[in-house]
Symmetry: C2
Subunit: 231 residues, 2 copies
């Protein structure tokens, strides 16, 4: 499948590499594909152009460019931009280039401008997922993957045993496609819990403060939660 | 131990009954101990006076009355009021009656005034736990138990296997006392994760929207989460 990724940072590169590994063609995107990136928590972090060249060197169909080209390219589109920049990046991609397509939104609206811990720039009675759905009514927004770090997103077996991923969105068929193909077949998630329509993105994004505190307590970002049902 | 409970509803009664069972003297409290209560999700729900009489009939040291009397009575105090009314109830209890004491805050600031799902009346850059700590600086506020329903709070084995409870607060000794005596010895919690100072109440309270969505997806309120650490 041809997949467009909004973003070219670590999350975009990790997700993009996994999608390439599964035989897809992938185009990542940013304002400047030669921009130097800070070294982040997941180690090596090349520019979009370097990433593309590396992947191409492995014989994979990798591309890098602007937001608009990635949206045009993708039959399926991922939003892997930082939450604070998502609406702007998607606007640059063009409403018409996202219309009728599934957009997997895994961003979190974390605002680091006042230091750590970050707060949410949108929450409680709204969410980034809903804002995106409102701004792109012809696009089928599916919120998922935002409750784990990028390494776990694409490699859930890094966390042993049973643990759960959440999904929400207004279109049942789109959620089913994302669950079966992307999450289960390509990424090997075993348990995906459907929390309802896109307003459930509030709950999924508001989990982030707990995730951040848990990262501090556990001293690792490689963890997830399992929902355990009572008798 | 003599324990005062702010509140006389289902949470207060379930917590109070468990504390009595463990040999403590317990005083629950409300504006009107004869107030009729709606039947809630946990079944039978007597008035405070009826609850006291029932418990006394089992030979237990149960009392019911106003907020001030309960705060005076308690060497340890629980806040089991609905989050929207917590600060008012605690103000009625009197700052001097809570000074120097541990206050276990298990309330959530859920606002149901606009229907389901409720939103949080305080969140993101503040929390109910912090508001209480600010309003009662001589009291040692410990936030815990708010991430599960009242039945699970006092009976964690209703959820099988391993699952986690969270705790936060500014005073390490108070957290240790609450963890060892209240949570582990009396309530039989096995895993309690310390998330830091009282500002972590933000994270614990902001988990509630996810809890509510999970309740909808699982069709039960009897569940909890387990944190699973990666390799």
């Amino acid at each position: 499948m041809d997949i467009g990724i909004m973003g070219a940072g670590q999350v975009a590169q990790i997700i993009g590499s996994k999608l390439l590994e599964k035989g897809n063609r992938v185009r990542i995107s940013s304002r400047n594909i030669d921009a130097e990136k800070d070294k982040g928590p997941f180690g090596k972090f090349p520019s979009a152009r370097q990433w593309r060249d590396e992947q191409a060197g492995k014989g994979r169909q990798a591309f890098a460019g602007g937001f608009r080209e990635a949206a045009e390219f993708g039959e399926l589109v991922f939003n892997c931009t930082a939450g604070q920049g998502s609406l702007e990046a998607l606007a640059a991609a063009g409403e018409e280039n996202l219309a009728g397509k599934i957009l997997i939104d895994l961003a979190n609206p974390l605002d680091f401008s006042k230091g750590m811990p970050p707060f949410l720039s949108i929450c409680n009675t709204e969410s980034l997922g809903e804002r995106i759905q409102q701004a792109f009514p012809r696009t089928k927004v599916v919120k998922t993957l935002n409750t784990v770090n990028a390494l776990i997103m694409a490699n859930p077996s890094l966390v042993p045993g049973d643990h759960d991923l959440f999904i929400s969105g207004n279109d049942a068929e789109s959620k089913a496609m994302v669950t079966e193909m992307v999450l289960k077949k390509w990424f090997h998630w075993k348990s995906v819990v459907d929390l309802g329509d896109i307003s459930a993105a509030r709950a999924m994004e508001m989990y982030l403060p707990l995730w951040l505190r848990l990262m501090g307590a556990l001293k690792t970002a490689n963890f997830n939660i399992r929902v355990v049902k009572g008798n």
